[in-house]
């Protein structure tokens, strides 16, 4: 079965079906607190009342215990690189030079690491256990967004002992 047509363009074989949708997104209570914290230049997490773990960011629940996290905890500006990768692939809208380092950073006092950029250190010198601190955008540019954290850089402390972060890899 083929489409007979006198049209010089030949048979139609594809159909463009673009989809565009608009939403009013709400992150909810706990994630709003985290984002509001970023707006003030600090990391806000929440502690589970059952297991005591501190999540940053928290989605309002302990995913292990399935209970609400209600205790707000302000975390340190410093943390430990648990693992990292060297990115050599450019992407659309990129604002930093390659190669760059994407690392999982475990903030002091937190039980959940999150991704951050490592700068002010040659890519070849980034390592697991590296102690880092957050560098924020200027105060008048702080916003309820992860973009408020420009990147992490070495904080000068000796590397963390593997035992202190091996549970978070």
């Amino acid at each position: 079965m083929t489409a007979a047509t006198a049209d010089e363009r030949g048979p139609v074989t594809t159909l463009a079906t673009p989809i565009a949708l608009d939403f009013d997104f709400t992150p909810g209570v706990a994630q709003s607190r985290f984002l509001r914290g970023l707006e003030q230049g600090k990391f806000m997490g929440q502690r589970c009342s059952v297991c005591g773990k501190v999540y940053v960011p928290s989605r309002g629940t302990c995913p292990t215990d399935g209970v609400p996290t209600t205790e707000d905890v302000e975390l340190s500006n410093s943390g430990t690189v648990t693992t990292f990768c060297v990115v050599n692939v450019p992407f659309a809208g990129q604002s930093i030079e390659i190669p760059y380092i994407a690392a999982q950073v475990l903030l002091d006092g937190a039980n959940l690491s999150f991704m951050g950029l490592i700068q002010e250190l040659p890519a070849t010198e980034v390592r697991m256990g590296l102690r880092v601190e957050a560098v924020w955008v200027p105060e008048d540019e702080l916003a309820p967004s992860l973009a408020s954290v420009r990147y992490f850089r070495p904080n000068g402390e000796p590397d963390a002992d593997y035992e202190t972060y091996k549970e978070y890899l």
């Binding site: 594809t14 159909l15 079906t17 949708l21 939403f23 009013d24 984002l35």
Partner: protein, 152 residues
């Protein structure tokens, strides 16, 4: 936490899908670009339009494509007094299930009837194709159906 502290953000997503058609829908869309409507022969000689690659009830293979319409009969209709932003027409219109002449199933499309009094179940309608140069092979190549013999 007070209402004002929970954040909101506009979230817009777009997917620029381009779907491959396969032989049956390719023929149907090519027909639309050529200004013709095609149905497909299904179980028991039933003509299905819009055509599908399989009998919509039994799943059996379908046979030859045949030309249907261009006119047809309104099987049901619904009056849209305030068109939504993605609707095919920006003025009041009727959605209708239209059984094209020669077909045994109905096609969904807009009927540009002007007013709800100008469309009824059982009415005959004909397609108003876009100019040949604007057609791309899509149901939107038909701007709308219109009452047969009655210009709007």
């Amino acid at each position: 936490m007070a209402d004002s502290e929970v954040l909101h953000a506009a979230h817009h997503i777009e997917y620029p899908y381009s779907r491959s058609l396969g032989p049956v829908l390719s023929a149907f869309m090519t027909g639309l670009r050529d200004g013709r409507l095609l149905g497909v022969t299904a179980s028991g000689g039933r003509i299905v339009c819009p055509p599908s690659e399989y009998d919509p009830d039994t799943g059996d293979d379908v046979g030859e494509l045949v030309e249907v319409g261009p006119g047809g009969v309104v099987e049901s209709w619904a009056w849209v007094s305030t068109p939504l932003r993605k609707h095919p027409l920006d003025r009041p219109f009727a959605w209708a299930l239209i059984r094209l002449d020669g077909a045994d199933t109905a096609l969904l499309h807009a009927v540009d009837a002007g007013s709800p009094g100008a469309v009824a179940t059982g009415d005959r309608v004909v397609p108003r194709f876009r100019p040949a140069g604007e057609r791309v092979g899509s149901l939107a190549d038909i701007e709308a159906f219109v009452p047969e013999g009655g210009a709007v």
